[in-house]
């Protein structure tokens, strides 16, 4: 099973899995991709822990809680090249819309005052299994060093393909105008 192929790992932090859908959207080129690489820790193959050093790590979503930060730091430790995939990883995206609302107000709206909330005790969920929220949502590059940023919501499959194949064949990542899109 073990090969000399470089490994790729992916993670979805505070994202919607849309960027991962866009990875799958490379369609039958995924057959060429698995000739080039093995997938390591990733929701694509459901491997939960790193099995070794990875050439490329793709990160979807920013950091909204302490678990996101730990996963991101783990990826930085295991990946030679780490890529922010999509708007949420790059600028926080939709989850970052809470960044100009104080955290307590967010909690009160979600667990006390929201129109559909039934919570007579008024307690916030505090199970140790639930990761603690950060004061705001952080873009990945404000937490660890990120090497590349692929823009888009989600980045087009062609953008992901162009960047991955360039990196895996030791060529510079040069995206044409039409593959740089913020929406």
């Amino acid at each position: 099973m073990s090969t000399d192929k470089p490994k790729v790992a992916t993670a979805s932090l505070a994202g919607c899995f849309g960027c991962h859908m866009s990875i799958l959207d490379i369609d039958d080129r995924i057959l060429q991709l698995i000739d080039l690489v093995d997938f390591d820790k990733s929701p694509v193959d459901d491997i939960k822990e790193f099995t070794g050093r990875c050439a490329v790590g793709l990160i979807e979503g920013g950091c909204c809680n302490e678990e996101n930060v730990r996963v991101l730091q783990d990826f930085r430790k295991h990946c030679d090249v780490l890529i922010s995939l999509g708007e949420c990883a790059i600028c926080g995206g939709i989850p970052a819309m809470r960044n100009n609302v104080p955290l307590k107000e967010c909690f009160d709206e979600a667990y006390r005052n929201g129109p559909s909330v039934h919570n007579p005790s008024g307690e916030y969920p505090s199970d140790p299994e639930i990761p603690l929220l950060l004061n705001k949502v952080y873009p990945c590059h404000e937490v660890v060093k990120m090497d590349y940023h692929l823009q888009g919501c989600p980045p087009p499959a062609d953008t992901i393909w162009a960047a991955l194949t360039a990196l895996l064949t030791d060529k510079p990542v040069e995206l044409p105008y039409e593959l740089i899109k913020y929406d």
């Binding site: 995206g93 960044n99 705001k136 105008y177 039409e178 913020y182 929406d183």
Partner: protein, 241 residues
């Protein structure tokens, strides 16, 4: 023989100007694109965004406000100037809340298009996530100050083209914002959806209601060609004729 044409160079290419023309106007006519956000053909020069800054005889000057003069040696597309422009655009992105993914202006936005043209993949400055106001009081027009880049196009258009003076800046530094000439709401002004000021916003800060997402992705202004292509192509066409 005397000629009142002014001659100067941009990146080594000879450009001619009429007396009174700014560097930017002369460059446009010559098919040389100097990136800009606050400058607009129908408006007087203002010099708000500084993206059009070029080196004039070795000194930085805003091309939109500096009159062309004989013998000027102008640098436009240098590595340093391009990086300065990137930095300004990056600052505009982090100082507002620019969520391109759901913005009605996406694809037709000049700020976004400028970032595309400059190949910006991530801002070097930390995101500020500032708290900004939205004014949806007007029946046909909305103001979303999250997206405002303080270019003053609406201020100038309303005052000089519409003769209404609906907009003005208030505050200083990071508190500066475009405000309206009434107690509180846009609906209390005589702003009308047919005003020049409605359409002139380069970003999605002033938008017409019920027109969002009308143009499909792939057919929007900057989907296939970088901003400034029209100016550069006019020159290419003229040369091939």
């Amino acid at each position: 023989m005397m000629s009142d044409r002014i001659t100067f160079t941009i990146d080594g290419v000879e450009v001619q100007a009429d007396p009174g023309q700014t560097i930017l106007q002369a460059a446009d006519a010559a098919g040389v694109y100097i990136p800009r956000l606050c400058a607009h053909k129908e408006l007087n020069p203002f010099g708000a965004c500084r993206i059009c800054t070029v080196m004039v005889n070795g000194r930085p000057q805003a091309a939109c406000t500096t009159p062309a003069a004989n013998g000027m040696i102008i640098e436009n597309e240098t590595e340093e100037l391009t990086d300065n422009r990137r930095s300004i655009v990056e600052m505009l992105f982090v100082e507002g809340n620019h969520y391109c993914m759901y913005c009605e202006k996406s694809g037709n936005c000049e700020l976004q298009a400028m970032a595309y043209r400059l190949s910006i993949m991530v801002p070097r400055h930390p995101y500020q996530f500032p708290d900004k106001d939205i004014d949806g009081s007007h029946p046909d027009i909305m103001i979303d100050r999250n997206r405002c880049i303080l270019c003053a196009r609406c201020v100038r258009a309303s005052r000089d083209l519409d003769d209404k003076n609906v907009f003005q800046f208030v505050g200083r530094g990071k508190e500066k914002k475009v405000w309206i000439n009434s107690e509180a709401k846009l609906s209390d002004t005589d702003m009308d959806v047919t005003d020049k000021a409605t359409d002139i916003c380069p970003v999605g800060a002033i938008i017409k209601k019920r027109t969002g997402y009308e143009i499909p992705i792939g057919q929007r202004a900057y989907d296939h060609k970088p901003i400034g292509s029209d100016i550069e192509e006019a020159k290419a066409t003229a040369e091939s004729n």
